[in-house]
């Protein structure tokens, strides 16, 4: 016999937990499945203070936001299944999950896919040599497992992730030999770059990694300068001795489940890849199937949480049909906060992407 829930949420990261938080105010029988041992997704690895609005956990460290969200969930209403993968969705109401015991059928009224994103790889010589890591893996090792993951690191990518993870590595006692960025400009916030610069870390814009070399493991990297058309400039090669090259070269939304479910998937470059088309309340073209967070376009965790709030609100409203003015009022608040978060030059891309997505939807 299969278990039955009002709302099934896939992914216990910021979007999934926020969806459960809002939904559980109005309904019960909510299930969250997540493949990790502990809930929190990327939040639990974030030891730095978050940006954003005071109303939305700004200044609080990511790991503490995770604890605040978890503490706020009522155990009577929300059930969490860790180490569980969602492996298939069958219209209209069936999710197949897999845990240590095997496969299970889960029935749900509404589904929220908060499946996040995966790190991008980049091609260079010997990129499969041991010692080439994703920034997320480095964070997991040091911030979740308490392991110092390297001694001397070169970071590839000067977006916020590359800058923040470099800083966290330095806090763990790792030496950062430099941050290399192919674009002529630092992509992340200036304040993150400034923290590294005052600790003596060089940030080399218009540079990239030619390759990593070593006997069975990374022992050095060769970097070179790039021209205006991103072409390598000969004679600019420099060798840097390292034991680890860390990659922070962007994320790609994880939409496999949504795709398999039959959601309308579009490639929107501003949202970092293929994303599921959704309406202003995060519902996809399949009624009752929602998306939230990076799976609907890569943005910051604060945006993911608001999208989760929105999806959770609409899913709960469709089930319970509670007071309409309460619903509209809460919707308006989330909309307002999302809009204000997406102002400014750093959010232009995501903003444009979301706009394109809405046009495609129509």
């Amino acid at each position: 016999m299969s278990e039955e829930y009002n709302i099934v949420i896939v992914g216990a990261g910021p979007a999934g937990l926020a969806a459960a938080t809002t939904a559980s105010k109005y309904t019960n029988k909510i299930l969250i499945v997540d493949e990790n041992i502990k809930p929190g997704g990327q939040l639990s690895k974030q030891t730095h203070k978050f940006f954003g609005s005071k109303n939305h956990y700004a200044s609080v460290r990511g790991v503490n936001i995770c604890n605040i969200l978890l503490d706020g969930l009522s155990k009577e209403k929300v059930c969490f299944r860790p180490e569980t993968s969602a492996i298939g969705f069958y219209k209209p109401d069936t999710l197949i999950i897999q845990d240590k015991e095997g496969l299970h059928k889960i029935k749900g009224n509404k589904f929220i896919f908060a499946t996040g994103a995966i790190e991008n790889m980049v091609s260079f010589e010997n990129n499969d040599l041991p010692g080439v890591y994703g920034a997320g893996a480095m964070q997991t090792l040091m911030n979740l497992y308490g392991v110092k993951p390297a001694e001397k690191v070169l970071m590839l990518g000067a977006g916020n992730i590359g800058l923040i993870v470099s800083y966290q590595l330095m806090q763990a006692g790792v030496e950062i030999m430099g941050v290399v960025e192919a674009s002529p400009f630092i992509g992340g916030y200036h304040v993150h770059a400034a923290k590294l610069r005052r600790m003596g870390v060089p940030i080399l814009t218009s540079h990239t990694v030619k390759g990593v070399y070593g006997d069975g493991k990374v022992e050095k990297a060769i970097i070179h300068k790039l021209g205006g058309g991103f072409e390598p400039l000969h004679g600019t090669e420099k060798t840097i001795e390292i034991d680890t090259l860390c990659l922070a070269v962007g994320l790609t939304p994880s939409v496999e489940l949504l795709h398999q479910a039959g959601c309308n998937i579009k490639f929107i470059k501003e949202l970092s890849g293929y994303v599921s088309v959704h309406d202003d309340m995060m519902e996809t073209n399949i009624p009752g199937v929602f998306v939230a967070g990076d799976a609907s376009g890569v943005e910051e965790a604060s945006a993911a949480m608001l999208e989760g709030n929105m999806a959770g609100l609409k899913a709960a409203y469709d089930i319970e049909g509670f007071n309409r003015s309460v619903f509209l009022n809460e919707k308006e608040i989330v909309e307002f906060e999302l809009k204000s978060l997406r102002t400014g030059p750093f959010c232009e891309r995501a903003q444009a992407g979301k706009k394109r997505l809405m046009v495609e939807e129509r």
Binding site: S59, R197, R342, T343, P345
Partner: protein, 161 residues
């Protein structure tokens, strides 16, 4: 394009300072936050209402130096670790800077530390006058370090053996 986007070093002409800042005899905030990013906790953190982010959350914080009493809460709250308190005349012949320091071990009070500028260049020595940790600072330790008066607008990081 503005230089800091390639260097990571703040353009000081974009940072507001009190008039005749060299003559100040108390701590005032130097907010090295010059970019339109969605962030506003500094404005809520200030018990005196001296910092405001007006309108959009991406607007740059404005500071009213008259209202600031040097409590340092903003230094601890700023997620970008971009606020420093500076007192150019901490004593007769020394200035001082209060900076966020999120590393272990913490320096000891009274100890001598090396000072670094925004590019990570060593620029001199300073003495630790105080170390404060508090939940009000989001557990970011705040270090007060005294130094030659002409270094207070340059020293932004410390190291010690």
């Amino acid at each position: 394009m503005i230089a800091y986007k390639t260097t990571g070093i703040v353009d000081m002409e974009l940072v507001s300072l009190p008039q005749d800042w060299e003559k100040q005899t108390r701590f005032f905030p130097v907010i090295e936050c010059i970019e339109k990013i969605p962030c506003n906790p500094c404005s809520f953190s200030c018990p005196k209402g001296a910092i405001s982010v007006i309108g959009d959350i991406t607007n740059i914080p404005q500071i009213d130096f008259e209202r600031c009493n040097g409590c340092s809460i903003c230094v601890g709250k700023c997620p970008g670790l971009a606020i420093f308190l500076v007192n150019p005349n901490f004593s007769e012949n020394k200035g001082a800077v209060i900076l966020p320091y999120e590393f272990r071990p913490l320096p000891e009070k009274g100890s001598i530390v090396r000072l670094y500028d925004r590019e990570g260049k060593e620029i001199g020595e300073g003495m630790i006058e105080a170390i404060r940790t508090s939940k009000a600072f989001e557990n970011t330790p705040l270090v007060t370090v005294s130094m030659e008066k002409d270094l207070v607008m340059c020293a932004r990081h410390i190291r010690f053996d």
